[in-house]
């Protein structure tokens, strides 16, 4: 299964790209996927997780075709 992983704002700038794709055999948590994609990079504090355009947690399971996103705290308004 293929997961699209999106990055925004300062995280996008830090990673130098706005998305990754990852192939998985079984559903994994958001935290697992972060570790697979960025084995050298501890999860930045305060980083937020969204699955399919809704807020999720680091232990939320990501399924096939899901859109996963990581981004820093929001500062709109």
């Amino acid at each position: 299964m293929t997961i699209q992983v999106r990055y925004f704002a300062s995280l996008k700038q830090q990673l130098g790209r706005d998305q990754d794709h990852i192939d998985l055999d079984t559903p994994l948590t958001a935290a697992d996927i972060w570790q697979q994609l960025h084995p050298q990079l501890p999860i930045p504090s305060n980083l937020l997780v969204a699955i399919n355009l809704e807020y999720a947690t680091w232990s939320s399971l990501v399924k096939d075709q899901d859109e996963l996103a990581f981004f820093p705290p929001v500062t709109g308004g």
Binding site: P72, T75, G77
Partner: protein, 141 residues
């Protein structure tokens, strides 16, 4: 109605235009509560030359729609208008407009406050400031 726009926002024209487009509200509402957020030329001790507003297309709209639904569940509201600007913004330009129409003032005042507070904490927008030195920095919440 929820709108995300990448051009200059004139909140007074938008409110007027929206009210005219809703003639069924005429004579029905006794209260309109409005919040406008505007770019300042000074933040966290520094002059700021401009702002770039990034967002997460589709998620931002979805979050704003959820916030609107929550407001309508909690207060008796006739209509809600939320417009947020993205892209390059200059000092003194409006960034966000929240307008709420209700029969009595309590509902519009409370809902307006809830909407802007929720937008600020939940809607995926990010501000990057450009300083006069041409340095860029992300705004902290």
């Amino acid at each position: 109605m929820i709108q995300i726009i990448d051009q200059a926002l004139d909140p007074w024209a938008e409110i007027q235009h929206y009210q005219h487009s809703q003639p069924q509200m005429d004579g029905q509402f006794g209260a309109t509560a409005i919040f406008v957020g505007t770019m300042r030329d000074f933040n966290q001790g520094d002059n700021v030359s401009s702002l770039f507003l990034e967002y997460y297309p589709l998620m931002t709209e979805k979050q704003l729609a959820m916030i609107e639904t929550q407001a309508r569940q909690q207060w008796s509201v006739l209509d809600i208008l939320m417009i947020h600007r993205v892209g390059e913004i200059l000092p003194n330009q409006p960034i966000v407009l929240v307008a709420v129409w209700s029969i009595h003032r309590h509902d519009s005042l409370e809902a307006c406050r809830f909407l802007i507070d929720s937008l600020k904490t939940q809607a995926p927008f990010w501000k990057q400031e450009r300083l006069p030195s041409n340095q860029y920095r992300w705004v902290n919440p």
